[in-house]
């Protein structure tokens, strides 16, 4: 064969081959290529944004925004936007990117600057912006087992935090139970201040956390969840500008232990109600080695208002003993002491209402909700919260 004949023959063979492929797929109407959707290798599954606004009024003895030996203002406002994007990579891997922001104006750190004429807490005392970038990747290893990794970086004006977590979920008993175990490590690094606003270098703390949880289906309409979490904290464990009123006048620095063991046990139950509703009950027992013992009860009542909307009413009651070294008037500036109202013996009620609507768009499932909450704490603090959310599922 002459070399010049070779090219046309090759082209003809190639054409016949392509024709064969095309005709084969055309002749096979039930082939997988013709019927099945091939999922993209990377797909954004959902995007959700939430915006929350808090208005808090209250007093606490740790705050210098008040009389020298009395409680100071704990008034603050918070604007809290959040963004969450969930994406699927292949069949087994899911990524969740979450970016929460907090914009806080608070009277308590503000007072440090105002009273002492310094600005060492700087801009943070007037408006403190904090934000995190959090990425969780979940990998479905097999039908029963999922593994996940979580990384988080948090930044505020005088505060940095790094966190890393890992865990495993395993389904048992014909998928009627799921056990989740996780560990989490956080390292915080931040500026340290005296109560007069003087910066004294940096402080840090380490937080190590382990959790073991079980979710169990009890019936086609009932599901229960229990979780035990242990947290160990080491380092500077307070806001360093918190003060303690002194009997002799003036204010002392807050002195907290540099170690804290915390244990929390949670039990939850969700029950479907025959009138298209659901009741959820929550109980939490907490104990730590600072002397705080707490019980928290919460219930949520859901009522569907048609297939696409529902209403939620919620109530929460929290009761805790105070830290062993809590005081509102200290006799000495030495030794462990705090006047932080969060560490006082207290009880708190939260009342809330929320309504949500799911709306279908073309190939997108939309979700919109808005909720109001009122928080009342027994030691002179109350807050109002409004929060709304928009979610799109693709």
């Amino acid at each position: 064969m002459k070399k010049s004949d070779c090219a046309p023959r090759l082209l003809a063979t190639l054409f016949q081959f392509l024709l064969l492929i095309c005709s084969a797929s055309a002749d096979e109407p039930l082939s997988a290529d013709a019927i099945l959707d091939r999922p993209p290798s990377f797909r954004v599954e959902s995007v959700r944004v939430r915006y929350s606004h808090f208005e808090q009024m209250g007093i606490g003895y740790q705050s210098q925004a008040g009389p020298a030996r009395g409680p100071g203002s704990e008034s603050l406002t918070v604007e809290q936007p959040q963004l969450e994007i969930v994406a699927k990579q292949g069949k087994r891997t899911t990524h969740r990117l979450w970016i929460p922001l907090d914009v806080v104006t608070a009277a308590s750190p503000d007072a440090v600057d105002r009273l002492h004429g310094v600005d060492t807490i700087s801009h943070a005392s007037r408006i403190n912006e904090g934000g995190s970038v959090d990425l969780t990747t979940q990998y479905r290893a097999d039908r029963e087992t999922s593994l996940f990794l979580r990384g988080n970086y948090h930044m505020e004006e005088q505060f940095r935090s790094w966190a890393l977590g890992a865990g495993m979920a395993r389904s048992l008993a014909e998928d009627n139970a799921v056990v989740v175990a996780s560990v989490y490590q956080v390292y915080d690094w931040f500026d340290s201040f005296l109560t007069n606003g003087l910066r004294v270098g940096h402080a840090s703390r380490s937080t190590s956390n382990g959790n073991l949880g079980l979710t169990q289906l009890l019936s086609p309409t009932t599901v229960a969840h229990v979780n035990y979490g242990v947290t160990l904290q080491v380092g500077e464990l307070g806001n360093t500008w918190n003060s303690v009123p002194l009997l002799e006048g003036g204010r002392s620095q807050e002195h907290l232990p540099t170690l804290r063991h915390r244990h929390a046990f949670v039990a939850r139950l969700a029950q479907w109600l025959p009138w298209q509703g659901a009741l959820k009950a929550f109980y939490r027992f907490y104990l730590d080695d600072w002397g705080i013992l707490a019980h928290t009860w919460e219930s949520e009542l859901y009522q569907r208002m048609g297939p696409r909307a529902y209403l939620r009413l919620n109530y929460r009651f929290h009761q805790q003993t105070g830290a062993d070294f809590f005081t509102t008037l200290s006799q000495t500036s030495a030794g462990l002491q705090t006047a932080d109202s969060d560490l006082a013996p207290l009880s708190a009620h939260t009342f809330g209402i929320m309504t949500a609507i799911d709306f279908p768009l073309k190939h997108i499932a939309g979700h919109l909700d808005i909720g109001l909450e009122r928080y009342l704490r027994s030691n002179g603090l109350h807050a109002s919260i409004v929060s709304c959310s928009l979610g799109l599922r693709f």
Partner: protein
Amino acid sequence: MFARLAILTLLADGCGVRPAPVPTPLERPLPRVALQALDGRLQPLPELLGGRAALVSLWAPWCESCVAELPSLMRLAERAKANGGAVVSVAVGESTRPVAEFLAAQGAARTAIYQFVDERFRFADALGEKRVPTTLVVDRRGRVVFAGAALDERALAALRTVLQ
């Protein structure tokens, strides 16, 4: 977050990553349990098929991967019909009206798929199938020759075989 992961695992399991079911020739006869069509009439599946080979999908509107395979089933129904077969969809644990409304919202109200409900799970239980989605392939003699999870290449291969 962890509780959320757990409950998602519980619910998604039947719809997510499952081991490849072995397409064994089960040779089980289709149960003669009457299924309810969306217009309310009752009909046993063997009578409906009348000697045709079919792919039967057990599904539920709350199962995400069931809903995700709906467009594939619609394509398959058109082509199977042209080749003398049928695609039957059975919504388990559901009544007719919500399923009709759901399919209408999905743009799947008028298709070549035979739509039924199995409100009391009689059909699913008679087959011994406890999961959704479940995909069955039935030969011309009304025997179940393949049982798997979501619609996949193996189910299509089994359907091609019984249509030949």
